[in-house]
């Protein structure tokens, strides 16, 4: 782990002294054993014949070619921690669903953090490493099971994403197809108009107007058609995904009553329309109400602007007239006491 800072600035392989200036497509690789930077050609040269010691002076760790990888993070310490975290999380791979209590899950996560920290910062590293290996041995089967489950989940997600992409493509294809057809149609029509103009002796403006009207109508109906096809596609897509149907069913499981059953839906009366013309005499009122005193307010703009409505007055009068009819207090009292 003796990596000096000045190596980062100069883009030169410390083994073969190749410079990035002279060979611009040079790549550096690292090995998670010791994290020493070596250029690709050196890796090929040194490790092609099997495991070999790290060429860095004083390192000498045995490295294998297949473990070499590109460096993602500039800071080698972060690179290392990420690698450790990756490894630990494949072993400690429980998810929240595996715990009944959130506290236990948090404890588990805390434990993972401790292990990662210990390994990354060389604190009690050998002991932690031993523990980790022991844990892996002990829980081998469980770990594999959870891995399978995770990959299943990922596959489901991938399938879903694929379906969405396919839907999008399908839509685009249909749209393009329709556009092509439209273009063809337009050309054809223009030709028709020209033919008509040259052959018939009707008014040219009329012919042109008629043609534009026709094309307008057609484009409108086409738009509707496209919308319809799109809707159909989406519907079939939604049905395809089993998770969606379940959700709807769950949502409707317990009926929701906005009024808690306390609402009169069927009124005991039928309301007529409020008079439209308010200053008519009584004889001409048909199927409406006649009240000259109330009706006069429907002309008052101040009343109307404040939300006052003639219908509301008549509705209230009717509501109050019928309120409580069919309600037998003695019977309700009896029902309540028993």
């Amino acid at each position: 782990m003796n990596i000096t800072e000045d190596e980062r600035g100069n883009d030169m392989c410390p083994i073969c002294r190749t410079d990035r200036y002279l060979s611009p497509n040079m790549n550096f690789l690292i090995n998670p054993e010791c994290y020493h930077k070596i250029c690709e050609s050196c890796v090929d040269r040194i490790f092609s014949l099997g495991p070999a010691p790290c060429p860095y002076a004083k390192c000498g760790k045995i490295l294998r070619k297949n473990k070499f990888k590109k460096q993602i993070f500039d800071d080698i310490n972060i690179e290392r921690e990420v690698d450790i975290r990756k490894r630990v999380s494949t072993i400690y791979n429980k998810t929240q669903d595996d715990f009944e209590d959130l506290k236990d899950y948090n404890q588990y996560l805390e434990n993972i953090e401790n292990i990662v920290f210990n390994l990354a910062n060389d604190q009690d590293a050998s002991n932690t490493e031993a523990e980790l290996v022991a844990y892996e041995k002990e829980h081998k089967v469980e770990i594999l099971e959870r891995q399978m489950r995770q990959s299943q989940k990922n596959a489901d997600l991938a399938q879903y994403q694929e379906a969405v992409a396919r839907l999008k493509q399908e839509k685009l294809k249909i749209q393009q197809h329709m556009e092509m057809e439209d273009l063809e149609f337009k050309k054809q029509q223009r030709q028709e108009v020209l033919d008509k103009l040259s052959n018939s002796n009707a008014n040219s403006d009329d012919i042109i107007n008629q043609a534009t009207n026709n094309s307008l109508k057609r484009s409108n109906s086409r738009k509707r058609q496209l919308q319809q096809i799109n809707n159909q596609l989406e519907q079939s897509f939604e049905n395809m995904i089993p998770g969606n149907q379940k959700k709807v069913e769950e949502g409707n499981k317990t009926p929701f009553t906005p009024f808690m059953g306390d609402r009169m839906i069927e009124k005991p009366y039928r309301m007529l329309a409020a008079p439209e013309i308010v200053d008519i005499n009584v004889s001409s009122v048909v199927n409406s109400y006649y009240d000259p005193f109330v009706n006069q307010f429907a002309k008052n703009k101040e009343f109307l602007g404040a939300g006052w409505r003639l219908e509301a007055v008549y509705e209230r009068a009717l509501e109050e007239a019928f309120m409580g009819l069919g309600c037998f207090i003695e019977e309700e009292k009896k029902a309540n006491t028993t």
Partner: protein, 321 residues
């Protein structure tokens, strides 16, 4: 008569004093139920009793609903008028201001639902509450929300009767009231509920005007200035002016303001805060709105956050120490 009544209830301690009443905490002797006794101060007013006391008695006697405060009894003693009310320890304003409580979307839905149910009950009995605000929405120990303070309530009278436009606490006052309308409708209560809905989502007052003029400005900056085209006859209202014309907000702007709200929630909010009172939805259509059908389902009252949340936190901290 008075003696019997005084024996029926016990006054335990004073919990608050307003301009016209003192509130005591007590118990109903027979059932051991906690109650609040509102003792109306008499003699303060030349013309006898204060209007709001009369209104409160008049309308609460009529209304019996799970989401409206219950008036258990009224009695007089030693020249005092006493209202025996259900004891409700908390109100929605306290919860909104308590930053340690987190509101889930389902909690907001539940409170709004209970408020609308209470308002619907008032409206179908032709009673306008006219002072809806979080402070007047009390919370029972079992989590039920109850509409209280009917001191400004009134029943709609004759169609030509003038109503006072100086009602409703300023921040919750509907635009037709700000314009001095004298023939408004139930829509003023719906507006107030809409603003409360917004406040539940934002956790701060939605339209906090500094004074009546500023209230107009704040309201229209948020929701656009009404004109004859989107509110017919608005210019006939006594105090109408459109000095500053703000454009109505786009859907996207409102979406940004209420970033956590779903599209259905925004739909309901928009229809409750329509500027034109005749476009505003009524309590029935608000309750039937799809917002209440979509997931997440509204929280059951017993599971709603309570004021006690803070105390619980403190006690758990102590345990740790």
């Amino acid at each position: 008569m008075t003696e019997v009544n005084e024996l029926k209830y016990s006054k335990e301690r004073k919990v608050g004093e307003g301009t016209y009443a003192v509130v005591y905490l007590g118990k109903q002797m027979k059932t051991k139920r906690s109650i609040a006794i509102k003792e109306i101060k008499t003699g303060l007013f030349k013309d006898g009793l204060d209007m709001s006391a009369i209104r409160e008695v008049k309308y609460l006697q009529e209304l019996k609903h799970l989401n409206v405060i219950e008036l258990i009894d009224v009695f007089s003693s030693a020249n005092n008028l006493n209202l025996v009310l259900e004891f409700l320890p908390c109100d929605l304003e306290v919860l909104i201001k308590d930053q340690s409580i987190i509101f889930k979307p389902s909690d907001i839905k539940s409170w709004l639902l209970m408020t609308l149910r209470g308002v619907h009950h008032c409206h179908r009995n032709f009673i306008l509450h006219r002072d809806l605000k979080p402070n007047n929405l009390l919370i029972a120990p079992d989590g039920q929300l109850k509409i209280a303070d009917f001191g400004l309530a009134r029943s709609l009278g004759n169609p030509n009767e003038d109503l006072s436009p100086m009602v409703v606490t300023r921040w919750y006052r509907a635009p037709e009231l700000l314009f001095g309308a004298k023939h408004y409708t139930y829509a003023v209560d719906i507006w107030a509920v809409g603003i409360i809905f917004a406040e539940l989502m934002l956790r701060i007052p939605y339209l906090p005007g500094k004074d009546d003029v500023d209230q107009l400005d704040v309201t229209f900056r948020a929701l656009g200035t009404p004109t004859e085209s989107n509110w017919p006859n608005v210019s006939s209202l006594p105090l109408y002016n459109a000095l500053k014309v703000y454009p109505p907000p786009s859907r996207q702007e409102i979406r940004l303001r209420f970033s956590a709200a779903t599209e259905k929630a925004l739909d309901l909010l928009m229809s409750m805060t329509q500027l034109d009172p005749s476009n505003r939805c009524d309590s029935t259509s608000a309750l039937l709105h799809e917002y209440f059908l979509e997931l997440p389902k509204h929280t059951t009252p017993a599971q709603l956050p309570k004021k006690g949340g803070v105390q619980e936190d403190e006690s758990s901290k102590r345990r740790k120490l």
